[in-house]
């Protein structure tokens, strides 16, 4: 039985790297001193199209594509025409489902109304803006360039040009962010014409500028307890505004859930195109060479860009199923867990981290308090 295949398309370029970011992205200067984005990304989409042909030849499925996601980097740095060309090629090769969801991540600073309109015309129907915070000082700590007002403009333009689904990303727990700052960010986000919010607690990733600043003592480490309070505040405010949590860090209203991300959490198949992109096909995970130049060389030499792959054992598949499934409101069927695992987590029912109602309905699912200790519960189940 064949399963549908989603696509992730990585755009590995940014005008500037933000201090907290550890994604696989590069500034033009890093790739070629003295160049600009147009120069370094020249021909990039053709490489991605070429890789999609490899995918076509290897994936036996004749299912149509249900979701596509342009991530980065900064995908909105690309010409909408180029993205449209890639989408056409994918549509020709695989076909699109009638209700295909095509998302693009966007920097509020690098879009105009015209550009948004062009992206919409190219077939993209969902847009996710990196808002992060409404506080200028928090954005400065995060080393973000945008002006908070641009988000207001960009989201309303997105609506005007016909994006049905508009989302913003928020970051909480940035050192120096007060509870009031966060509350204001939440209010600002809820005032936007959106039907989806992702809110992430800041992670200090090793190797980033932020990690170096923390190590040097210039910036304090985010306070976990305060982040917990911020999560609770966010969930409360979002719920009051009619947004439902559908994954640990994601809320939606009016059917605005991101189907592409749900595919990740349900263990569906997807192919990641571009440098460093990860793919998953029926228990096999593989990922491409990370550097855009290495990727270019491979594709131009008609070699596979895959750097490494792993075939998951059944135990590993089970670990992934549990750690991903628990993040969703419906949780895990009790029948899918061993009696030892169930015994190991039973105490969380009385302490309030697992929902009693769900348990009685035969499911293991997290309460609000439980969402904050999801990883601990996963460890209890798996160990």
């Amino acid at each position: 039985m064949s399963r549908p295949l989603s696509f992730y398309i990585h755009i590995p370029y940014c005008v500037k790297r933000c201090g907290y970011c550890d994604f696989n992205t590069y500034t033009p200067g890093e790739l070629k001193p003295g160049s600009d984005v147009a120069e370094v990304s020249n021909g990039y989409i053709d490489l991605v199209i070429q890789e999609s042909k490899i995918a076509r030849s290897q994936v036996k499925s004749d299912e149509k594509i249900p979701t596509i996601f342009f991530g980065g980097g900064t995908p909105t740095l690309m010409e909408p025409d180029d993205l449209g060309r890639l989408l056409k090629s994918l549509e020709n090769d695989f076909g699109f489902t009638r209700d295909i969801e095509i998302t693009i991540e966007a920097n509020p600073d690098t879009v105009s109304k015209e550009k948004l309109s062009a992206l919409r015309s190219a077939g993209i129907n969902r847009i996710s803006f990196g808002m992060q915070s409404a506080s200028a000082h928090v954005l400065a700590t995060l080393d973000r360039t945008h002006n908070p007002d641009n988000v207001v403009k960009a989201t309303s333009w997105a609506r005007q040009v016909g994006f049905e689904n508009v989302s913003v990303d928020l970051i909480y727990g940035t050192p120096g962010e007060s509870m009031e700052d966060w509350e204001r960010t939440i209010e600002s986000a809820l005032a936007l014409p959106i039907n989806h919010i992702s809110a992430y607690s800041l992670i200090v990733e090793s190797g980033t500028k932020l990690a170096a600043q923390v190590a040097r003592g210039e910036i304090p480490m985010p306070d976990d307890d305060q982040s917990a309070d911020k999560y609770l505040l966010a969930d409360q405010q979002f719920s009051a505004a009619g947004l439902n949590w559908y994954e640990l860090s994601n809320w939606e209203r009016d059917g605005g859930a991101c189907r592409h991300n749900i595919a990740y959490w349900k263990g569906d198949n997807w192919w990641g195109l571009g440098p460093g992109a990860h793919s998953h096909l029926d228990g096999a995970r593989f990922w491409n060479v990370k550097h855009p130049n290495a990727y270019r060389e491979r594709i131009e030499a008609e070699l596979s860009p895959i750097m490494e792959s792993e075939q998951l054992t059944s135990a590993q598949m089970e670990s992934e199923r549990v750690m991903l499934g628990i993040r969703l409101p419906q949780g895990l069927p009790k029948s899918s867990l061993t009696s030892e695992s169930l015994a190991a987590i039973e105490s969380y029912l009385t302490s309030g981290e697992l929902s009693k109602e769900s348990w009685e309905d035969g499911r293991v699912s997290l309460t609000l308090a439980g969402r904050l200790v999801a990883d601990r519960i996963v460890r209890e189940i798996l160990m």
């Binding site: 976990d224 307890d225 992934e320 750690m323 991903l324 969402r371 904050l372 990883d375 460890r379 160990m383």
Partner: protein, 625 residues
């Protein structure tokens, strides 16, 4: 050429005592004893250049790496004196250079008629050397003062010659000046050994009496016992008898070391060599004991025999509980070569199965631990070292306590702790710092003397427990490394001592209990509780950490319950990474120890039991210093 062809040299068992000179070298670690010994082996031609290797006489890797000698040996060196042209046999008896092995030093001294006092003339005499010098002078040994490393640019031979002259009561110009490194002055030194040190005197017709000054286990030969014959004669035909136990042994082999073993027919009066009896355990052939012959035994033992007495105790536990049998095996093996090491099984609720081990001192402890880790490939946790306490209970009965967990909780009349007499040598600018440290450690000043204009000897009595707890590291850091320390036990004294327990969620953690002076209980309690608060990860519930004397809580900290244990982001590329993290955490969980409901990572135990000085040492080691 003063060296003698080995084959033509006076032979063992038939050497006239008048031709023999027995001497040892008293020196501090790194004052160049081994280099000088090497040089003597070369000049007397018992080792040819081709076979020479650095520090020839130090056999164990650890010794060579640390530049210290743990086990002594004796080397027979034939020498033709440049002064009178006569042939002599010099027996160089090597001595351990550390305070923990004082007793072994005293036996090496007892086997010699003279001592070379070797001092690095860039550093001056150190406290342990001074202690050994006094010991040698008490034993009426002839002292030859020698300044070594005269080739160094920083050498100050005049200054330190004054110092030595003052200590021994000779003239500064009597101090010989040598360089073990270049060989300068070594020939003269050999001649002076012949000239100044008296020949051994003994009765060749009396029943045999030989002093055991060292005993070493060899995998192939069993125990090799090093002896100095005082009276009579030992030969391969004899059956020998240990005076202290009366046990009889067959004599399998007699010989001398020159510097490889050379079998001989026997050993006569004044000679130094080895015997092999087939015994498999050094405790059956103890340092200080007298060997006599079974058929014609002596009635009078040589004086000075003492049983080695452990002074410092610590629990050794394998990191991996499954390695417990390996630890037992490794200790059994080590004990074959270490009569001073004692141990018995110990069970700790926190650390599992291990052994309570007794050592001569801190260095001995460190060496044993290192050998266990290196030679048996074990990873060990050791608990804080403890001394031996005598507790007089309410009923008047004595209880010997070597482990805080044995300290009685009920009524106690008195507690006695071991006291040492400590000698510190240091430049006079550090007097204040040293006195402050000793005062802080409950010391009583005994006296102070100037060795030279700017160097002092400070004497204190101190509780041994205070020295055991990072005293030496503190002393070194307060004196920028210039001070040296020696101490000897002088008895016991009553102390105002209490046991401090550390509780996690009201559950005692035996490994962290300590017996401390009442005035320091609070400091220990706050130090441990705050350390543990840093080391133990937050749990699902709040964990109080308390320090208590009996039921009285003296310090308290708490680890707040964890509120957030979740990774915010988990998308396509994060999944593999997150799963691997989970797999790693799974491994980590296996290494968690449960104290009640509290999960304590093994690393926390190790870190809590480690002093800052240990951490610095480990870092230095990691850097390869």
């Amino acid at each position: 050429m003063p060296a003698i062809d080995l084959a033509k040299a006076p032979q063992p068992a038939s050497t006239n005592p008048a031709q023999i000179r027995n001497f040892c070298i008293i020196a501090h670690i790194d004052h160049g004893k081994s280099t000088l010994a090497d040089r003597m082996l070369g000049i007397t031609e018992v080792v040819d250049q081709r076979n020479m290797r650095a520090q020839y006489l130090d056999r164990m890797d650890i010794e060579r790496e640390r530049g210290i000698t743990i086990k002594s040996q004796a080397v027979r060196l034939p020498w033709r004196s440049g002064l009178d042209g006569q042939e002599y046999i010099l027996n160089m008896i090597d001595t351990p250079g550390h305070v923990d092995f004082n007793y072994e030093v005293s036996r090496s001294l007892a086997a010699s008629e003279g001592a070379v006092l070797l001092v690095d003339c860039a550093q001056g005499i150190e406290a342990q050397t001074l202690a050994n010098l006094y010991l040698a002078m008490e034993n009426n040994l002839t002292i030859i003062p020698v300044l070594n490393k005269i080739d160094l640019p920083a050498a100050q031979p005049e200054k330190f010659a004054e110092e030595l002259a003052k200590l021994i009561g000779c003239q500064p110009e009597d101090c010989l000046r040598v360089s073990g490194k270049t060989g300068a002055g070594v020939t003269e030194l050999l001649d002076q050994i012949v000239k100044q040190i008296p020949a051994p005197v003994g009765d060749p017709n009396a029943p045999a009496r030989a002093l055991i000054f060292d005993s070493v286990y060899d995998t192939y030969r069993g125990v090799v016992t090093y002896v100095r014959v005082v009276d009579g004669h030992l030969s391969t035909r004899d059956q020998i008898q240990m005076f202290s136990t009366g046990v009889r042994h067959e004599m399998l082999e007699v010989g001398v070391i020159s510097p490889e073993p050379v079998v001989s027919k026997g050993l006569g009066v004044g000679e130094v060599g080895y015997v092999i009896t087939g015994v498999k355990d050094v405790r059956q052939s103890r340092v200080g004991d007298t060997i006599t012959t079974y058929h014609n035994p002596t009635k009078v033992a040589l004086s000075g025999y003492k049983d080695p007495k452990p002074m410092v105790f610590s629990g050794l536990f394998p990191l991996d509980g499954a390695e417990y049998p390996m630890l037992r095996e490794a200790l059994d093996k080590l004990q074959l070569n270490d009569a001073a090491l004692v141990y018995e099984p110990e069970t700790s609720a926190a650390l599992g199965f291990g052994f309570r081990c007794g050592f001569l001192g801190l260095l001995h402890m460190e060496i044993v631990r290192e050998r266990l880790e290196r030679e048996a490939g074990l990873s060990l946790i050791s608990t804080a070292p403890s001394v031996v306490y005598r507790v007089v209970k309410g009923d008047g009965k004595d209880l010997i306590v070597t482990n805080p967990s044995e300290f009685p909780n009920d009524k106690i009349e008195a507690v006695f702790e071991p006291i040492v007499r400590a000698t510190v040598l240091a430049p006079s600018e550090f007097i204040g710092a040293i006195m402050e440290l000793c005062q802080e450690r409950r010391g009583t000043l005994l006296g102070m003397d100037y060795l030279s204009e700017d160097r002092v000897e400070i004497r204190y009595t101190l509780p041994l427990a205070e020295i055991v707890f990072d005293f030496f590291d503190q002393l070194k850091s307060k004196t920028r490394g210039y001070a040296s320390l020696d101490y000897e036990p002088i008895g016991e004294a009553e102390g105002d001592l209490v046991k401090v327990d550390i509780l996690l969620q009201s559950e005692g953690v035996d490994a962290f209990s300590a017996i401390v002076h009442k005035d320091k209980a609070y400091a220990y309690g706050t130090m441990m509780t705050s350390k543990l608060r840093e080391l133990i990860p937050r749990q699902q519930f709040e964990v109080p950490i308390q320090a208590a004397i009996g039921s009285r809580i003296i310090a308290r900290e708490s680890i707040r319950a964890i509120r957030k244990d979740v990774l915010a982001k988990c998308y396509g590329g994060d999944i593999s990474r997150k799963r691997k993290l989970l797999e790693k955490q799974k491994e980590g969980k296996k290494r968690m120890k449960m104290v009640g409901r509290v999960e304590v990572p093994q690393e926390a135990f190790i870190a809590a039991l480690t002093t800052d000085a240990d951490v610095d040492k480990a870092k230095a080691k990691a850097k390869g210093q």
